[in-house]
């Protein structure tokens, strides 16, 4: 880790923070839409509706009593590892060139998939634990432990581990690094 990498990492951190703050609501809306599609694949009938609201997502099942309050999920808490990933990619990731564009896009798409999985786990945790008698009637102890465990794991350590693993896969290892261009040596005549 040299001064140049530290500088690049700082730029990546600042860029990640600004992006996360400024584009958060739009990005969280996309994550909510994708997560709803995941529920569409698994549910019959399709009752889960995820309505984006700024940096939150409102969980609105169509079979909820119209008078009952709708749970609100702060999606920001699930997605801030984009700052960590951009910092690591900028400091010690593949160079920011067209040749390595695929690695950057794949890394960011992988993180998007992680965010969809994290929101899915969050919604399922609400279903299995937080809806009182309805949760008890519809889900068993295995489902309760699995989904609440997955959600807790992600929030405690998985959020960082996911960014680290994606960065580790995306970075170039020693065999892939480009050799420095050889300097033209002038022969003494």
């Amino acid at each position: 880790m040299n001064r140049n990498q530290l500088l690049k990492g700082s730029v990546g951190f600042a860029l990640g923070l600004v992006l996360w703050l400024a584009a958060g609501p739009a990005y969280h809306s996309i994550v909510a839409t994708a997560t709803q599609q995941v529920f569409r694949l698994a549910e019959n009938p399709n009752v889960t509706q995820l309505q984006p609201s700024g940096n939150d997502v409102i969980l609105n099942r169509t079979d909820f009593d119209s008078r009952s309050p709708r749970p609100q999920i702060p999606v920001r808490d699930l997605t801030f590892n984009v700052i960590l990933l951009l910092t690591l990619l900028a400091a010690a990731g593949p160079p920011l060139r067209l040749r390595y564009g695929g690695r950057w896009i794949t890394a960011l798409f992988a993180l998007f998939a992680v965010h969809v999985a994290a929101l899915t786990a969050k919604v399922m945790t609400l279903y299995v634990l937080r809806l009182g008698a309805w949760s008890q009637a519809n889900y068993g102890s295995v489902a309760r432990n699995f989904w609440s465990g997955a959600d807790h794991f992600y929030r405690f350590i998985g959020i960082y581990a996911a960014a680290f693993v994606i960065w580790w896969i995306a970075r170039l290892d020693d065999t892939e690094k480009e050799p420095k261009p050889a300097r033209n040596r002038r022969r003494k005549g």
């Binding site: 801030f80 700052i83 794991f153 350590i157 960082y160 680290f164 693993v165």
Partner: protein, 167 residues
């Protein structure tokens, strides 16, 4: 198995194992909670040095105008777990790994004290910045510090492992 893949498999296995250990209730009650209480005490001590009148109760630091509770996720354990998993997964002598773990953990805890102290001060004097600093900025800085420490340490391991070229 390729070294890169091996690193990832061991890294993931250690992360999950350490998470399970830390999440077990007896470990949480007898180790993590008292440890977090020590961080709260140290934070209170640092704040008193800066002239703040605070009192510490368990994991809570209270003072006029602000009160914070240091909980799991704020005690620096997550960064230490990432560092431990990366250091243990990297091929290096165990003595070097142990040294890196001890030195890195101490460094991360010192940085975490700066985090908890500054968060109290931000909550009291710049409350509008508290949320973003608490949920994202400081968390990221702590894990980035862990990764930088790992990168520096691992590059030195590589240098020491490489054979010396013949003179």
């Amino acid at each position: 198995m390729k070294p890169r893949t091996r690193f990832l498999v061991v890294f993931a296995a250690i992360i999950v194992s350490l998470y399970v250990i830390v999440a077990i209730r007896p470990v949480n009650d007898r180790v993590v909670e008292p440890f977090t209480g020590l961080i709260a005490k140290a934070t209170g001590g640092l704040l008193r040095l800066t002239g703040e009148q605070v009192e510490v109760r368990g994991v809570e630091v209270r003072g006029p105008g602000a009160s914070i509770a240091i909980e799991n996720g704020c005690n620096g354990l997550e960064a230490i777990i990432v560092l431990a998993a990366a250091v243990c997964a990297f091929p290096a002598p165990w003595r070097s790994r142990l040294t890196a773990l001890v030195v890195g953990s101490i460094g991360l805890q010192l940085l975490n004290l700066v985090r908890t102290t500054s968060l109290y001060l931000f909550l009291k004097y710049r409350p509008s910045l508290f949320e973003v600093l608490h949920t994202s900025v400081w968390q990221t800085i702590l894990v980035v510090a862990a990764v930088i420490f790992f990168l520096v340490w691992s590059s030195r391991q590589r240098v020491s492992v490489e054979p010396k070229s013949a003179a």
